[in-house]
Symmetry: C2
Subunit: 332 residues, 2 copies
């Protein structure tokens, strides 16, 4: 493998000069630069970023710990983050935490060991006690994504509370009183906030929260299917349902289909998170869509500013959701 020294020798200059033409870090005589470039071309030299990182103390690498790469929402998030980073000349290392603090710790430790310049984390439940402290201890810039944690660090996520509230209110305005909800994994802020939105909507309209109508879907398709199925075949059958994330929406729809019920005639349905195909089939889903691109881009922007050493108060950014009003809610 050719090194910078080899190139220098061939070009008849010092390694230092080669480094500077490569990085544009200082003025170099055009003639010498040309010679260096020729030598690089001739040898097919590739800089060794590992050595460079060690010497410079920066890796131009950012780590991302995500909950579930298989969830299309998170996949898009990874995509958005990757794009924003690569535009800025950074490279992304991804790890999947499977929404488990243990795995998350392993992922973030490995990222820390690799001396990433910054880190983006979608914190699992319990993260604030184990993962986050370790990251902040090293002084690595950190921004939380999707879910928040009550700690002084930058975070960017979607609007949860108001979106879930509107979703629920829409159902109430349609005359429903028996509105069930499938809520996500406990211990993460998005679940709490969305559920709060649901509760607030009910409260605002003088409807008491009926514990029997609150389903724990654990952000999981199968669990949601089971829960919805059992609720919908019980005596206490609701007339409307709000699903609080995409995976659970699939599960809910499966359950409804398996029972031979139809939406919206037997059950009005709205959900948090939109799908590419939401508009394609009957029932066309009335859904609150997140703006993933913006969430990803924002997170990267904040992180890069921290990496550059900018000082500013911790930001807590909420990206608005958009309500796509279709017909699963039972409107014309």
């Amino acid at each position: 493998m050719t090194t910078m020294g080899d190139v220098a020798r061939i070009a008849g200059v010092s390694a230092s000069t080669v480094s500077h033409v490569l990085n544009g870090t200082r003025k170099v005589n055009t003639a010498t630069r040309l010679r260096v470039e020729a030598a690089i071309e001739e040898t097919g030299y590739r800089r060794n970023v590992v050595a460079r990182s060690l010497a410079a103390g920066r890796t131009h690498t950012v780590g991302l710990s995500i909950s579930a790469l298989t969830n299309p929402y998170f996949a898009s998030l990874v995509h958005a983050v990757e794009r924003a980073l690569s535009e800025a000349g950074y490279v992304l290392i991804v790890g999947d935490s499977h929404d488990d603090v243990g795995s998350e710790k392993r992922v973030t430790d490995s990222l820390l060991d690799r001396k990433v310049d910054g880190m983006i984390v979608a914190p699992a439940a319990g993260s604030e006690r184990v993962t986050i402290p370790e990251i902040t201890r090293t002084g690595t810039p950190l921004v939380l994504i999707d879910r928040g944690i009550d700690i002084g660090c930058d975070q960017v996520g979607p609007e949860n509370f108001s979106a879930a509230r509107s979703l629920t209110e829409h159902l109430i305005e349609l005359g429903h009183h028996q509105i069930a909800v499938v809520r996500g994994l406990s211990g993460i802020s998005s679940t709490t906030e969305r559920f709060d939105g649901y509760c607030t909507a009910l409260a605002d309209h003088g409807i008491a929260v009926d514990a029997a109508l609150v389903l724990d879907g654990e952000s999981n398709t199968d669990v949601a299917e089971r829960e919805v199925r059992s609720l919908m075949s019980s005596a206490n059958r609701p007339t409307a349902l709000v699903s609080l994330n995409n995976a659970m929406t699939i599960g809910s729809l499966k359950a409804v289909r398996a029972l031979g019920l139809s939406i919206p005639s037997d059950l009005a349905f709205v959900c948090y998170d939109d799908f590419e195909w939401s508009n394609l089939f009957e029932p066309r889903l009335s859904a609150a869509a997140q703006d993933v691109e913006t969430i990803g881009a924002m997170a990267v922007e904040l992180l890069l500013r921290r990496i550059r050493g900018e000082e500013f108060a911790p930001q807590q950014i909420r990206i608005p959701t958009t309500f796509h009003h279709r017909n699963s809610c039972g409107c014309a």
Copy 2:
């Protein structure tokens, strides 16, 4: 930041010993090891993987260049690869090539510069002329995924030809003669192979390929929608359609819906690639599903063997697809 030297000083040993307890690379007296471990604990020392990589000449990092992180198929592939790698103690760096050689070159160059121990690439059209040679020149182990290239290197992908042929045959056996096809991006092997499968099925049953029924969907939802829409509103309307990948399936369905046609009564429909929701809505899609997990795991396995220095003839592995027979094809 604490370094290995600091730990050594505190433990009263040499850096060399610290290194060896950390890596288990040689026998260390239990007493000394304990002291070292205590010092590590006390200081909260984290190894510097960058320095380690430079010294050891291996980064325990694998690069992945993928066509489109937003396509759920590729997202699952990334997931499968990430999982297999992390089990083996490797870390994944992802780059999105957007199916463009230019971007692909940028991605792979950056990966090469980072001295990844190996590389997995879903080659874009033209890759064999620009990206692949550069990778092999550096001697970095490489395995091609999803698409192949006529070059002596390991590749793993789904069965394309036979799956597409079966899909088409199914339609023929149902009595269709006017079978249209939406094919993917030109220049990549999966497109060619799947299209060949379609042509062969027709030929085997004495049906000539009608150029007017061959649509170029460019592996893109919008393009497919436009094409299908225009074909389906023409005089020469086919009675059946086979879509050759997931993105184009969405487009096709959009077009069909927009025209107010219904599947399968107005148009029998089968597709390559399955969806999580294929079974959820009418028409329930009859589809050939890829086994992404296996594809990812296989690719990683081959790559790790190459990284370990094993010598063997280049492998070309095809993972079978599964036909999910539902009702969009028009069967009971």
